[in-house]
Symmetry: C2
Subunit: 111 residues, 2 copies
Amino acid sequence: MAGSGDILRGHTETIILRILQEGDSYGYEIAKDIIDGGEGVIDVKDATIYTAFRRMEEEGLLTTYWGDGVGGARRRYYKITEKGKQVYAAKLEEWKLVSRILTKLIVGGNR
Amino acid sequence: MAGSGDILRGHTETIILRILQEGDSYGYEIAKDIIDGGEGVIDVKDATIYTAFRRMEEEGLLTTYWGDGVGGARRRYYKITEKGKQVYAAKLEEWKLVSRILTKLIVGGNR
DNA sequence: TGCAAGTACATAAACAAATTATATAGCTAT
DNA sequence: ATAGCTATATAATTTGTTTATGTACTTGCA
């Protein structure tokens, strides 16, 4: 997909947190999950995921550990923290509110 | 509101086009319309509106003319073009699609 | 008369999150 | 061997926003 950058922007962290809340995962898999769920409309680059991981680790939203690299390339797994769960809950509520307001502003009421 | 930048990002042009589709308007008024509709959640800075106008004029989405500056500060009005109307229609459809997919990705189906 | 507050436009510089480009490296199938 | 998939990583670039700053006119009040 051609540059869906602004579509995802701001939501990447929220989506990563949602996925990690369902179980530990790693970069490559998370990227695929998002692309699969994106129905051909949303695309994420690896670099987006990995730079988001760095940010989120610094913010204390997740911790990381290396998987046992038997049979295949090494994988770095990520685990959501308590703070990460709280941030996710807050961002979920924010999305519900914001998507309603944006719909109103984009669709318009009158005429 | 503290930095709602990423909330609006990518949608500013669409919202401006929606407002102009309902009638010619000018920067200050459009900013107020968005803030009023934003229910305290969304904030836009003047600079955002004016830089968007420049972009959109270059892209041929709108044309501009000076209002008669009688009694008050001069106003530069903007008028949506045919191309602008087409772009709005496309962005509206995109929003309907994208908001549904984002909701799915953020809320999560399982568990 | 002076001054604050509101209206109105404009642009340069800084910022932040995404993309592009590039690099490394192991496994599998042809 | 070599193409393709898996898997991680980072520097540089792009883009739309905010911050900061400036101009200028009008209204109301003290």
